[in-house]
């Protein structure tokens, strides 16, 4: 099997979560997946730029997709919010020729054209749909069988489900998602069932409403701990910032002691595939990862 993708890293993986990019590359290498970095891409606007200037946000996201189209490679993302904004842009342009033309008028000025020829999926779904859980299972050298792992799905990979079902072959239920649980089981870990696994971490109001953000993150962390989680895993670096970097603040807000390591999705996979802690950048996680 030879799989090749254009990787849209997003900003976070190049700045505050370097461990995400590192571990993504390490896992791809172990699985023999080729990733071409889209170095030309810009920020997706993180669902905030569109609040200020919707059209500009469309143009910039369309430009990012153009570079994957140039390579004629399916595009993958490693951030739920990048996935949301890229997919929303793609769907709106693909369904509205008039809007597409208006966007292309601008892109034409810099010699680009959005055509709508490549798919856009989060790495999680590309792995499940193209590589296959069975094949991942075969590559496991260090089964995670002693670890209780709480999957934290992150809003923008599962809601609105209509959008995600449009791009993913996996028809994830927004009420009872299973993809991460299935992946955890494929790595021979024990997936933890808890109510907050499909809830919001509050990241998008970190600055203007920190109490809300800390409360939501705290509730999720506590729920996972109360259901015997040893570690949490998330496919979204923005969730990760709230759940890991801001764990202390979240604990304070909900009045509980919390000390739960939070892994990025590829960090977890990498552990099971036998990558070293250095390769996975575990030293960058703020809550120490002590289970290895």
């Amino acid at each position: 099997m030879s799989l090749k993708y254009a990787l849209y890293t997003g900003c976070t993986a190049r700045e505050s979560t370097p461990e995400l990019l590192k571990s993504t590359m390490a896992v791809a290498e172990k699985l023999g997946i080729e990733l071409v970095l889209l170095d030309e891409a810009s920020c997706c606007g993180a669902s905030h730029l569109q609040d200020f200037d919707d059209f500009l946000s469309l143009v910039l996201n369309a430009r990012n997709i153009c570079y994957a189209e140039k390579l004629e490679l399916p595009m993958i993302t490693i951030c739920n919010t990048c996935q949301l904004n890229t997919a929303l842009t793609k769907k709106r342009l693909d369904e509205n020729p008039e809007l597409k033309e208006r966007v292309n008028e601008k892109l034409g000025e810099v010699g680009l054209e959005y055509r709508g020829t490549v798919s856009v999926r989060h790495f999680l779904y590309a792995l499940i749909e193209d590589y296959g859980l069975e094949n991942i299972k075969k590559k496991v050298t260090r089964p995670l069988s002693t670890i209780n792992i709480a999957p934290f799905y992150g809003c923008h990979n599962i809601r609105p489900s209509e959008l995600h079902h449009h791009f993913n072959r996996t028809k994830e239920s927004p009420y009872m998602p299973t993809s991460l649980d299935d992946l955890i089981e494929a790595l021979e870990g024990n997936s933890v069932d808890y109510e907050h696994k499909n809830r919001c971490c509050g990241f998008h109001v970190d600055l203007q409403a920190p109490k809300t953000a800390n409360r939501l993150s705290g509730n999720a962390l506590v729920d996972a701990i109360d259901n015997n989680a040893d570690v949490m895993v998330t496919p979204c670096p923005l969730c990760h910032l709230n759940l890991d970097v801001k764990q202390h603040a979240a604990a304070k807000e909900v009045g509980r002691e919390i000390n739960l390591p939070v892994l990025h999705l590829p960090q977890l996979i990498g552990l099971a595939l036998g990558c070293t802690p250095e390769e996975l950048g575990l030293n960058h996680n703020v809550t120490d990862v002590t289970l290895v």
């Binding site: 505050s16 500009l56 810099v110 009872m176 809300t212 970097v245």
Partner: protein, 322 residues
């Protein structure tokens, strides 16, 4: 007709007499054409006449029959039982839309919902000619701008699914009231647009407190996509020059500034620009991040390739001002 067996766990509570709620377990067979409301009726008619719930139109219009099925906001007269079984299996739990607001069984106290609805001036403000010579016609392209926000039936499915309202900040207006605000701010006949926008611009109650989780969009039985109306309200705040210069608005604008400079987001600069002098409160966190190699120094800030392209696109595609 083909029937499916289900086990129902039904929330029972009477605020006047009970200290704690309990669940009744009821088994029954449901057929393909039954909606959730039919089952609520059967619980009352076949099992316990004291079982209480709201319903009126049975046509998805009055908005009174919302409950939660396995935690999912559900308009009882719209959703078929077979679809609930497909989503959640044969064991289903019926709860009121909000357990903490329960009065009796499925009936909840919606007073906070209505109070917020009332906060956004939920009616048209316009100088009406009391003796018009002809009808007051709204052309279709004007009506389309409402994006069906006027179809909202105030069922509360979105409101009781919103994590901000229900877990974090009970002052937040929530999606339904914001849809109502948009229904009028997008109406060309209305003269209170700015006034209404000023109300939704307020921190802690208005649009800036939405966490963008899409729970409301997922929940709305009329498919009104409340979250996208909230985005449009943000846009209107800037279009009308109503957005106050504060941490939230600067956060949205800061993205453009950063992309213009680096293509990528300069996380540190965004926080500093958004917070202004209050940036000092992030120092402990920044320190913890720095220790773990999570802070990129300004001189190491990565930039997108072909940055000139991005700069040019921003110059020619910008549509908003702050």
């Amino acid at each position: 007709m083909e029937k499916t067996k289900v086990t129902l766990n039904v929330f029972r509570f009477n605020a006047e007499t009970d200290y704690l709620p309990h669940y009744d377990t009821i088994e029954m067979e449901v057929s393909k054409d039954e909606v959730v409301l039919d089952v609520l009726n059967r619980i009352k008619w076949e099992h316990d006449g004291s079982f209480t719930y709201r319903r009126s139109c049975r046509h998805g219009i009055c908005g009174s029959c919302a409950i939660k099925v396995n935690g999912r906001s559900t308009l009882a007269c719209k959703e078929r039982m077979v679809d609930m079984i497909e989503l959640f299996g044969n064991e289903l739990t019926f709860d009121p839309v909000s357990r903490s607001r329960a009065i009796k069984d499925m009936v909840v106290d919606k007073s906070d919902f209505w109070k917020k609805h009332d906060s956004v001036i939920p009616y048209l403000k316009a100088d009406i000619d009391e003796h018009p010579e002809s009808e007051n016609i709204v052309p279709p392209q004007e009506a389309e701008k409402l994006e069906e926000a006027d179809y909202c039936i105030q069922c509360g499915c979105c409101y009781y699914a919103c994590p901000v309202v229900n877990e974090a900040n009970e002052d937040y207006f929530g999606p339904a009231a914001l849809v109502k605000a948009y229904r009028f701010t997008s109406d060309s006949r209305d003269s209170a647009k700015k006034e209404r926008l000023q109300i939704v611009d307020k921190l802690s109650v208005g649009v800036w407190d939405c966490v963008k989780c899409f729970e409301c969009t997922q929940a709305c039985p009329k498919e009104l996509d409340p979250m996208s109306k909230i985005t449009k309200l943000h846009n209107q705040l800037f279009e009308e020059g109503v957005a106050e210069n504060n941490v939230a608005s600067r956060h949205a604008v800061g993205f453009k500034k950063s992309i213009e400079k680096h293509g990528l987001l300069d996380e540190g600069m965004l926080v500093a620009y958004s917070e202004g002098c209050a940036v000092f409160k992030h120092v402990p966190e920044a320190l913890a991040m720095w220790k773990k190699g999570k802070i990129v120094m300004p001189w190491d800030m990565p930039k997108s390739k072909n940055l000139d392209e991005i700069k040019k696109l921003i110059k020619i595609s910008s549509t908003a001002k702050f």
